[in-house]
Symmetry: D2
Subunit: 429 residues, 4 copies
């Protein structure tokens, strides 16, 4: 049974000024230990090593996604739009609040190495023996399952899914504004109020009034800029790579039955793929940083070196490759090995790319819901067909190849970089 709070509660938020809680269920979900754990997971992983302000947590982002969703729905209700299924309000709000509840520390690096997936964990937490699940069951016996379906995008009403997950969803709207605020860049800012005002429920979708096209262009350009200037910043990528190498090395050592000086249960379960929900709860960022600190004293020189690099921000240097030459890279790896660096852990070729806005191609795997414009004749058009700007950034996998490796390689072994092409390769910055 869902019921309103006797008195509206607020959280002071730097991005939305205030976050308004009006339902007992939302209040109770925020107070579960699983939701409070999000305070111990940074929103932007290693990005704080590039932008020192980026120390904000998934906790504040999750509240923000909830708040944007609440604003959208409240606008739909205030204007009495047909086509908005009012009975889904609480479901949307809960899914918005909980969609990241399964996020672990440094998600990208850990998920890559150990094959976990944060969305799966969100569903396990929603459905498992957790405080979150107990709160959701108070609404109805099927409610937790519905929330999980929205999070996994299998819920039958697409309009509900698209509020939380689409090209123009509450998740993206909050993170762009929030990440811009905390890093201090101003690329991510756009006019949230205006975008909310041009959104409409229409034939089971969320669409945008055509007069709002420029506002959406501005939002998509913000996203484009945030990707290239913040999320894919080479220093952040370097930190991700070093961290990834740490876990790769630790996994290798575990498989070789190396005796770790510091090893605690949840780590073992992470290594052998047997994590329980309870163990996952313990695996927060504070824990992982403590592990990294401890491992910087391990006997294995590669593990300890990589951990120290991460903790003390002695990351890998990078060069941008104009032409991809696998032969050259092969020779570089040989050289590295000859001077004592294991190329498996000390060199990485990186190609970050993002589709700032994807055209919808039905049937394609991992399809994303497109942004549709609604004109005064009630015709829908996919936005890139009307906007030159969006067209120019649609469907292009941008990105450049970067090669990451330790700085010392250049400094200490310059004389050994005999071949002219290698020299050129590494000297390009």
């Amino acid at each position: 049974m869902a019921s309103p709070l006797k008195e509206e509660k607020v959280f002071k938020d730097p991005v939305h000024k205030y976050i308004y809680v009006q339902d007992q269920i939302i209040w109770d979900l925020i107070n579960t230990k699983e939701f409070q754990r999000l305070r111990r997971i940074r929103q932007l992983g290693t990005c704080f090593l590039t932008f020192h302000g980026a120390e904000h947590s998934r906790f504040s982002h999750s509240l923000g996604v909830y708040e944007v969703t609440r604003k959208i729905i409240s606008q739909f209700e205030r204007n009495g739009y047909e086509g908005w299924p009012q009975q889904e309000r609480l479901l949307c709000l809960c899914a918005a609040l909980l969609h990241d509840v399964g996020h672990g520390p440094f998600s990208h690096s850990i998920e890559n190495t150990f094959g976990t997936h944060h969305e799966d964990w969100s569903c396990r937490i929603v459905l498992g023996d957790t405080e979150v699940n107990r709160v959701l069951r108070q609404v109805s016996s099927e409610f937790a399952a519905q929330v999980a379906e929205v999070i996994c995008k299998t819920y039958h009403r697409q309009i509900v899914v698209s509020l939380v997950s689409s090209q123009l969803d509450a998740d993206r709207m909050d993170y762009l504004l929030r990440d811009a605020y905390f890093t201090g860049v101003n690329y991510g800012t756009f006019d949230l109020e205006r975008i909310l005002r041009v959104m409409r429920p229409f034939q089971g979708h969320i669409v945008v009034k055509e007069s709002g096209m420029h506002a959406v262009e501005d939002y998509l350009m913000s996203r484009y800029q945030m990707y290239w200037q913040v999320y894919f910043h080479p220093v952040t990528r370097s930190a991700d790579i070093v961290l990834h190498k740490v876990f790769q090395r630790a996994k290798q050592l575990y498989q070789e039955e190396y005796a770790f000086d510091f090893m605690l249960p949840p780590l073992l379960s992470l290594f052998d793929g047997s994590l329980t929900t309870h163990e996952y709860h313990l695996l927060d960022e504070a824990f992982m940083q403590t592990v990294l600190t401890r491992w910087s004293y391990e006997r294995d020189p590669i593990l300890s070196d990589l951990c120290s690099r991460f903790l003390n921000r002695r990351l890998f240097k990078y060069v941008q490759l104009e032409h991809m030459d696998m032969l050259q890279i092969g020779r570089l790896k040989e050289l590295m090995r000859s001077i004592g660096f294991d190329p498996d852990y000390y060199i990485e070729l990186d190609f970050p790319s993002d589709l700032s806005y994807d055209v919808y191609r039905p049937g394609q795997q991992d399809e994303k819901l497109p942004i549709l414009l609604l004109d005064h004749k009630e015709t829908l058009t996919e936005i890139s067909q009307k906007s030159e700007i969006v067209k120019s950034i649609s469907g292009i996998h941008m990105g450049k190849h970067h090669l990451y490796f330790p700085d010392e390689l250049l400094e200490r072994h310059r004389s050994q970089l005999v071949s002219r092409d290698l020299h050129q390769l590494l000297g390009s910055e």
Copy 2:
């Protein structure tokens, strides 16, 4: 030997837009592992449990104090003010950057319980066998000692000390703006540029042109508001109290030779007061949070309960006491004991207070350098003699008594709260 960087380096900062590094020494200090460790210490301790945006670290604050100091000095130099000892520039900048380098996690709670002091640790790090010390010695053999003297306020040139530590110093100016930005409140904002422009070196002090009086009033009011609305917020106090009780309990258990399930070396040294600089380095906030997580599973019911409360934000409730009645509080403690709560760990009387601006009373212990106004006749006057506003907030120890205790006390044992006065005491909010 100090030398400028070939090319100015910048850090993107949300408060000052950019932080400019122009000296090799400053750049090297930032890259020491002791300074990087400040990324793992939150600036506002437990305040993030009240204001979820307050997740910023001492690292960004320290950069900010450096930047404000750099701006003040640059203004002094640009205007060619006499009375500014130009040769002290680098000393000021290093002291500004490093003044908090000895801060530990949750300083207030830990320093209270274990008698450590962050300023002492800053000096130990500056003077000890550390990367920081090695960088400083490159300037000259006495430089590290001078930096330590500025931090400990014993340096012979008061003007240097007062830039970093006085009623109107770079430290306060940065933290008010920064804490306001990250919490999202706007009480802490004031016109930094204007205050910098009215500051003057004069007879060995930093003084303020009289025409800047209103700007200083505004700054002091910001401080007053930040103290009462943010730093002394009862929910933050509650978190501090719970954390303090955790450490008090752990120390007690240690003295009783209780066998902790989870115990690691730096903790033991903290308990017996034998921490080395190296161990202190390991004692970051990630470590302490990991300890709290683990201790929430200890056999000792008090320790595990208090840790869970902190982690899952089930803090103590508070009531404001109109009249202090120790008799009533005594009876309350008895009642608590009778229903199974140890009053040593489950009740606390709190009286936060601050002097937003202290009049200078020479000779008094812990005297703070006052704010002096310089008029066109070159006469100095202490600000509260000219400003009604400052006078009204000077020297008043404000604050109210709050009683903190677990919420359940009220809920579960209401029937036992027979005596009318106790009922009244606890029911007042």
Copy 3:
């Protein structure tokens, strides 16, 4: 008959982000020619000569007052507070929108000289043969009269009056934020959302929850700072004085039947006190500036000089007087006359003062509704009894005597300033 708009309309506003119009009547009032005329009246009169950003009009301020009122009422309605007379909503909104509709150009200078009063004109426009009146009569036959009563503070329901005019009203809340925004100072900012949230209708008044006391302190301090740093800035006062002298001279010339080269009907009516509503409409700031431009070529040397001074920002210089010595000022006037400056037009003693917050003293003339705090026992207390800060700024007429006169006096006639005390008087800045 009042009816809602089919679709909410918005105005983009830099202070409130958007201004929302939901009623046909409000929309129609905004589109009357009397309301559009407010675009031709600057909000801060001559202040743009000190703060060049202060070029905003009464039009945007009036929309802002309307929007703050709308937000307050919407909050009252959303929370279902008893004690809020819901039927008064439209009356409040209309009075808020129109309260300044009678403002003329450079109000202070003109009202002083010609004895007009903007509040009277607001009522004349509301009640007269105007487009505004025709719109209001659509609601009901008494509606225009009610709006006029609210503006003149004689309406029988005090709660309605106090929304638009009290110590904590929509008018003040908008102008502090707006004037701070456009001048670029940040003294005027306070947390509007928070103040709105702690306001309550209670026993026919608007009161403030005690927990909001610090927010109100912050608002009152903003007001205090805005008065001293912006509204009473000596350069603004100087411009006001020069302008006042222009009108004083013109009036004198008119009475002496001087033949103006440039003279248009509404001016004549202003001079002989016979302005009609229609003529008043023509008397906007563009008109007055054109008059000043033209008069800068009049034959009368005093009138033309004063007009040139204003237009080209060659204002009077000022000195602050430590002690008021009428004897000295008398001698100064004599001196002025002897060197060819008519002291009636070239010297002025000014004493700006404001009560940032007045204690309520019932029965006193021009009494202002005080700010009352509501505690959990539903007791009301006037705020200065609980707040040290408010007490310190209550009831004190602050201000300093400034003497204004042309700069050239000092420059050209320094040798004639024989007497040592005169010299001292004028040399003090």
Copy 4:
């Protein structure tokens, strides 16, 4: 002779926080009556009728252009860049400050009708018998001529011209930020500090370090958004069209020797093309608004109607034309005439277009200096060759045809709109 001020002076500015004046010449120029006149010319002409905050003047913009120029030069000097001609500093600053000094009221509408050009007037004021000229001649006898050359883009050192007028100049940087601030939209914001930091003098041009490409993209997108959302807003266009029709009608009446009730000398000179510098000075926006007010009572029904429409914001309505059908428009004009509207004054086809960024095509008329990227090999590349985004907005004349006409046409004569295609044409919005 140029000399520094004894003490730096500042103007409080909402966009740049403070504007710093360090030279006596700059200070004196600001205090000339020609520069003060810019306070009486709105920066955005009729845009305040769409965005009510857009009431700022050319005065504040001109100070802003000066300040951005000062910052660029100060950065060049601080970094000791070769290729920056230090002796040109004051020339740049003066040209930046004065480049708009010849702007008249509602430039677009008046320049179109009467064939005046604000750049010519700037040069006339710089070179003529003015206070500005007298100040400039204090520097040297050729200085005024040099300032005029920079403003007219004929000065021999292109680097000086390009600071004030190019695709990435101080003018554009200030107006985007300023217009965004005052309208309240946030499309115009970009990271000014960052752009300044990546600018370099190089081979007689200002170029941009390649690493700053994304920052420049962001700036160009801001420009694109400001054009489409603010400068070309259909309501602003409508106001411009109505105003243009006013002047077109007045000119026609003048040529027909109509006897105006209200007519003053500078207007006559404007009509017959004989304006002197002195008369131009009188022709400020206050004057033009007074003229419009007076003309709203003229006997000529077209002139008085158009003036009333502008003053009371009863502008023309618009429809967007999908296909340009001159036949339909012809029929519409006929219809208008038949119901009493003169189509010369009551219908207008509008096609606003802008090149947000033009590729440089040497030799083309009105060529604009392009933005060049400088890579680490010191090669220059025009930005659209490296940036997909810039390419997508380069050289495209965007824009849509809008038809403007009085609203009443539709309302009163709907029955006469017999033909289905006309109906469709006008009903489309």
